[in-house]
């Protein structure tokens, strides 16, 4: 609360009204997608586009159940499992990347090695490679090591994808801290572990939350590697979502929208909960090379 006064002025409800209009215009495509989730196919493709219609929950039912071809009875899809997989895989890998990345970032910030910046840059370059190129080697590697189709395989891979971003962001937070406080604590006999956990981490919690949210957003919807490296048991929602894109009909807009809407809920709430941290004011350091 004390930080509130750092913001550039305060505004009242009038300002809320203006920003809401702008916000809603920006949100409109998402709103339309959510609306589509409640439409039949003919409503979704109506001309002119329909804002008012009789809503149906059929699309949401179809996310979890579908009719058998031969008997017409309703069969459960594995969508529930896929939702769990997505949450588990993304959550674990982003968390892991944050832990590992924070340790590395602390080292880069406090114990610079010779050629520190070069190492940092190399870490960043792994994010620049078009992923399509490493697919065949990774696919082969996964098969040889037995990681294909397992949770650990895809979690480790996503962790690797998130490390560059985590290291770079978290390092910039550490750089901003005042090392004199840490030195003073050391003078008082605090161990390195205590300095790290008691002095450094609490000060950058907001930044860590921001990094977690960014990582989650970048991982949540990953498609290509999930398609190739997950098995039937470990499949994630983005892969399963592809079944709505064509087969007997073109895109099943209602079903796709229903999955998108459901899939939006977890990440929306995580972001909403961590939003306070994001807005408390995160100062990032200068990027140097």
């Amino acid at each position: 609360m004390a930080r509130r006064n750092r913001e550039i002025g305060k505004a009242g409800w009038g300002y809320t009204a203006i920003t809401s209009v702008v916000g809603f215009i920006y949100f409109f495509p998402v709103f339309w997608i959510i609306l589509t989730a409640f439409k039949t196919r003919t409503d979704a493709l109506a001309t002119p586009p329909k804002l008012f219609f009789t809503p149906t929950l059929d699309n949401f039912t179809s996310v979890f159940y579908r009719a058998s071809i031969t008997t017409g009875t309703s069969q459960a899809t594995d969508m529930g499992l896929y939702f769990f997989n997505s949450i588990f895989i993304a959550g674990t890998s982003v968390g892991l990347a944050l832990i590992v990345g924070t340790l590395a970032a602390y080292a880069f910030s406090r114990y610079p090695l010779r050629g520190n910046d070069t190492y940092l840059f190399i870490i960043l370059t792994t994010r620049m490679m078009p992923p399509i190129v490493v697919i065949i080697p990774i696919f082969l590697m996964f098969r040889l090591s037995g990681l294909a189709g397992s949770y650990w395989g895809i979690i480790l891979l996503y962790t690797a994808f998130n490390i560059p971003f985590s290291v770079w962001l978290v390092k910039s937070f550490f750089d901003e801290l005042n090392p004199e406080i840490e030195d003073a604590a050391r003078m008082d006999g605090a161990t390195e572990g205590r300095v790290f956990f008691r002095f450094c981490i609490p000060q950058i919690l907001a930044g860590l939350s921001a990094t977690f949210v960014f990582g989650l957003i970048l991982t949540w919807n990953e498609f290509l590697f999930a398609l190739l490296l997950t098995g039937v048991e470990t499949r994630t929602v983005p892969v399963a979502m592809a079944r709505t894109l064509g087969g007997e009909v073109g895109v099943d807009y209602g079903l796709l929208a229903a999955i998108v809407t459901l899939f939006l809920i977890p990440i929306f709430f995580v972001t909403f909960l961590l939003q306070n941290q994001l807005l408390r004011g995160v100062t990032f350091g200068t990027v140097k090379k």
Partner: protein
């Protein structure tokens, strides 16, 4: 998974054999993992297998279908095969991928097994030769070449696949419009010929009339159509004109073949040329005719985005009078929850080019998918997989498949009296299947297709003309094929 199960089954059998002192037939647990696109024809196969299959060899067989969403099916299969994962025992495949994956050593050559097995031989004899040519042979042999041999299987030909879902394109049309008396009379008056209403009328419909239909039925919002005021613009006709995958080549090839032109003919390698054939005057004229009808189609056609699904949607939402599309996309058109025209649709053969003798040539490019076996399996698994093939291509199974929205490639099944009534497009499908040819199967297929689709797309979006597009395609193919020693 599979090998462990086989081993366990074998061990169990050995113990049994030892204890009884005699050797009964080996009964094993066999799991056949099949890569399959996630759609009704394959889901039917799985459900029906679980309900009806018993192994003639006495095995305990599981068909484990790995359902992969259609849009990412190719990527998943290609990655699995090329990485050497060896996960699948059977694979549903597009016929055009045969070359790449046969040359890669992934698809099993079944020629010897077919020759040695009278049951399989009989199946191959009963399959429609157009399907055998397109779905099974590599190096590719045309239907004419196969029929010339006089025997099935033809000597010197390599066989790989069997039909999972044989597909052709047919005309979907709005009976309420085409059989509307006022519209029929107006059409008759304007063009001096009839607006096709019955199946027989469509049998006599050529591209010229199809274009007239396009012009005639193109109406603006507020105009009258079949006695009602339109609440939106309406378009007469649609066929595929999309940049993606093969969503224009399949239709353009038909125009070219029907008028006596040709694509590069791989069955005549190394003598067949691309330059001078692909861009022959006939081909240019045929492609021009294809392009001339774009103006009568919904405006999305001008973006080069009217793929097989977009035209299906436009038709289902009542924006188009008649469209040419795959039979495999037919079921949703009859579904009241998805389609506004579910009770107004009828089906006929796709139009063709009028020949000098007055007959109509409807040569078309075949669709659908065969399924194949892979190379890394034990004899036991291959034998059992072939038992699954035989089960699938039994007339009972095939008839059941057709009832559930599938199609059959067996001549005996298509000749059954009840066949035409099972689905409303079956008559048209049977008529069309006789006209089918296929595009190339060589491993370079995708490179040729992508470049061709790109040039076609430029012409469809009006950036270049037909001649320019075909010249560019011919030049590219000639060079590529000479480099690959396909043209000498």
């Amino acid at each position: 998974m599979k090998s462990r199960n086989v081993l366990r089954g074998l061990m169990g059998a050995t113990v049994l054999a030892a204890s009884f002192g005699s050797a009964p037939a080996f009964s094993a647990d066999i799991t056949i993992t099949m890569a399959a696109p996630d759609w009704p024809p394959t889901r039917f196969m799985k459900e029906h297998f679980d309900a009806t299959y018993t192994s003639p060899a006495g095995h305990n067989t599981t068909l484990d279908m790995d359902f992969i969403p259609w849009p990412s099916f190719y990527e998943r299969v290609a990655a699995s095969l090329t990485s050497g994962e060896q996960k699948y025992q059977m694979i549903v495949t597009d016929s055009q991928w045969l070359g790449a994956f046969v040359e890669g050593g992934y698809y099993l050559n079944l020629t010897d097994r077919i020759n040695a097995d009278p049951e399989l031989t009989a199946i191959m004899q009963d399959l429609h030769p157009a399907l055998v040519s397109a779905y099974s042979t590599y190096p590719h042999r045309t239907r004419a070449q196969l029929e010339e041999a006089g025997v099935v299987p033809a000597p010197g030909v390599n066989y790989y696949g069997f039909p999972q879902f044989p597909d052709t394109y047919v005309t979907y049309y709005r009976q309420d419009i085409f059989c509307h008396e006022g519209e029929m009379a107006a059409f008759q008056e304007k063009y001096g010929t009839n607006l096709p209403c019955t199946y027989e009328d469509w049998q006599d419909t050529d591209w010229e009339k199809f274009a007239q239909i396009g012009e005639f039925l193109q109406r603006k919002k507020g105009d009258m159509l079949a006695g009602e005021v339109l609440d939106d613009d309406f378009y007469g006709i649609a066929y595929q004109a999309g940049k993606g995958y093969d969503f224009s080549s399949m239709q353009i090839n038909a125009f070219i073949w029907q008028q006596g032109g040709d694509i590069w003919d791989e069955s005549k390698a190394p003598d067949a040329q691309a330059e001078g054939v692909v861009n022959s005057d006939i081909a240019v004229k045929a492609f021009d005719q294809y392009l001339s009808m774009i103006q009568y189609m919904p405006p999305v056609a001008r973006t080069g985005q009217m793929d097989i699904f977009v035209e299906q949607d436009l038709y289902m939402q009542g924006k188009v009078g008649a469209m040419i599309d795959w039979v495999g996309l037919g079921e949703p058109v009859l579904d009241p929850t998805a389609s506004k025209v579910h009770d107004k649709s009828a089906f006929g053969p796709a139009p063709g080019s009028r020949q000098a003798d007055g007959s109509i040539d409807r040569t078309g490019n075949i669709g659908g998918q065969p399924f194949v076996l892979t190379t890394w399996n034990s004899d036991e698994v291959v034998d059992e997989a072939l038992n699954v093939v035989k089960w699938w291509l039994k007339s009972d199974t095939q008839l059941e498949a057709v009832k559930n929205g599938g199609q059959s490639g067996l001549k005996s099944v298509m000749a059954m009296p009840e066949y035409n009534d099972l689905r409303p497009w079956n008559r048209a499908h049977v008529e069309m299947i006789d006209w089918q040819k296929d595009v190339w199967h060589i491993p370079e297929f995708f490179e040729m297709l992508t470049q061709q689709q790109e040039e076609f797309d430029k012409a469809i979006t009006g950036q270049i003309g037909a001649k320019e597009a075909l010249d560019a395609i011919a030049e590219f193919q000639q060079e590529l094929l000479e480099d690959g020693d396909y043209i000498k």
